[in-house]
């Protein structure tokens, strides 16, 4: 039985994430928490994020949660979602802030001058909606998820890892960007599995049963 802590640092509604995990893994204990001790006790940790990354970093520190995140990311099954993926990297162009530096690389904005599709039509930013996710490494979290499945995205920034070897999936808008990354016990996704219907629920089910090994 998994004991899953969803880290709450005051940015956005985390009940959707909790609802979705409870739905696919009724036997798991799911807690939305801002208590470092509870996060460190949990068997699995979910690190979500909404809004702007500078605010997320500030709120994380204001609540004294940085240490609990850093330690969890070292030692237990750890799932970053959306800004929770972006914060794992060294730096973000959004407000030019430093991230947690757990993964090497930076977070960049979709460049307005390149946002055109093949037929020359303007692409909007934020990137909102259901896009295809092309997995590029075999991973327990991709189990039962078809190649090219669509997941729900909403973001204006994307991560560019230094090490392409950690890219677990890419999506295209209009160029390919890393829509999921994986390194050891860390898995992080730019999309929202909790809002991605059956494919998203499958990923969360896989996470709740994951032991952190690849």
């Amino acid at each position: 039985m998994a004991d899953i802590a969803i880290i709450d640092y005051g940015m956005g509604n985390l009940r959707s994430v909790a609802h979705a995990i409870e739905h696919v893994s009724p036997q798991s204990k799911v807690a939305v928490t801002s208590d470092p001790a509870e996060i460190l006790r949990a068997s699995h940790v979910v690190f979500p994020g909404q809004g702007a990354m500078p605010d997320c970093m500030r709120e994380l520190d204001a609540r004294g949660l940085r240490e609990a995140v850093m330690r969890s990311a070292k030692e237990k099954p750890f799932l970053g979602i959306c800004i929770g993926l972006q914060m794992l990297f060294d730096f973000s162009e959004e407000g030019n802030v430093a991230g947690l530096g757990i993964l090497r690389g930076k977070v960049k904005r979709f460049p307005q001058d390149k946002m055109f599709d093949a037929s020359g039509e303007k692409l909007k930013v934020p990137h909102i909606g259901w896009n295809q996710v092309e997995t590029c490494l075999s991973h327990p979290l991709w189990e039962d998820i078809a190649q090219g499945s669509r997941f729900y995205f909403v973001h204006s920034y994307y991560a560019e890892p230094d090490d392409e070897g950690i890219v677990a999936a890419t999506s295209r808008y209009p160029f390919r960007f890393a829509s999921a990354v994986a390194k050891g016990n860390i898995f992080a996704v730019q999309f929202h599995p909790e809002k991605s219907q059956s494919a998203g629920l499958a990923l969360l089910r896989n996470f709740s049963g994951w032991n952190g090994a690849i």
Binding site: N13, D117, K124, I128, G129, W130, S196, L201
Partner: protein, 253 residues
């Protein structure tokens, strides 16, 4: 392949029921919101939009309960609008399980609310709804209070201003077409969508599946919203998507 165009069923809710009006008046009962939400989710709806059209403030709590029930059973994005007047209203809807909150009249009477809510909760969850009516050749004006009050604001300029203040999406309804089943006001939709960098959701007038495709292909909408064609079982969301896919529109099937 890339980002799919979205199909969004819209549920107008009052007194705990889904209803549908014609030209903003004359309501018909269309069923239980949670049941309808589940049905659309099963059919492959990309998102759901709930508009609380309750007039009296003592029934305002009903929508929160509905959103809580839907959010614990349906795992796609939920937008809720209607009667959002303060940052506290945005917060309580988000806490109930809404992913996005839509503002219309209150954005006009207090544009700072859009900026404030966007700064506080992120632009990804702020939708500005615009009800527009044609007032001349290539001219549309913004109306509020469910279409009863003229504002003197140009719809295109207003949409761009809302983008600048922090809206993450614009939900544009043609009042001339709403409830008529004659199709979107394509000229309006395209003019606003082309003026924006953020996504545009087209609304008002869908009577058949060809209208949905037109909204995307000719109106340049990023998402299309419809109510009555789905509520009364004329078409399923799945049929709508298959129709669009046959027109080479990228959809989530």
């Amino acid at each position: 392949m890339g980002l799919a165009k979205r199909i969004i069923p819209c549920l107008d809710v009052t007194g705990g029921r889904v209803v549908k009006g014609v030209n903003f008046v004359g309501l018909r009962d269309a069923g239980d919101p949670v049941e309808i939400a589940r049905r659309y989710d099963e059919q492959g709806a990309d998102e759901l939009t709930f508009l609380d059209i309750t007039a009296s403030s003592d029934e305002r709590g009903l929508i929160l309960k509905i959103i809580e029930d839907v959010a614990s059973q349906v795992f796609i994005p939920l937008t809720v609008g209607g009667g959002v007047r303060a940052v506290a209203d945005v917060r309580s809807l988000l806490n109930a399980g809404a992913d996005k909150v839509s503002m219309n009249t209150s954005a006009v009477s207090n544009p700072d609310l859009v900026a404030e809510a966007s700064n506080r909760f992120g632009s990804q969850c702020i939708v500005v709804a615009i009800d527009a009516k044609k007032t001349g050749e290539g001219k549309w004006e913004v109306f509020t209070h469910g279409g009863r009050r003229q504002t003197g604001l140009d719809a295109i300029e207003w949409a761009v201003r809302m983008q600048r203040l922090g809206a993450g999406e614009i939900l544009l309804t043609s009042m001339d077409r709403d409830g008529t089943k004659n199709g979107f006001d394509i000229e309006l939709t395209r003019a606003v969508s082309d003026a924006l960098d953020i996504p545009l959701i087209a609304s008002g007038g869908v009577g058949n599946l060809a209208h949905l495709a037109q909204g995307v292909l000719e109106g340049h909408a990023d998402a299309v919203l419809a109510a009555s064609i789905f509520h009364y079982g004329e078409y399923t969301v799945k049929q709508a998507k298959e129709y669009m896919a046959n027109r080479h529109i990228e959809v989530r099937l």
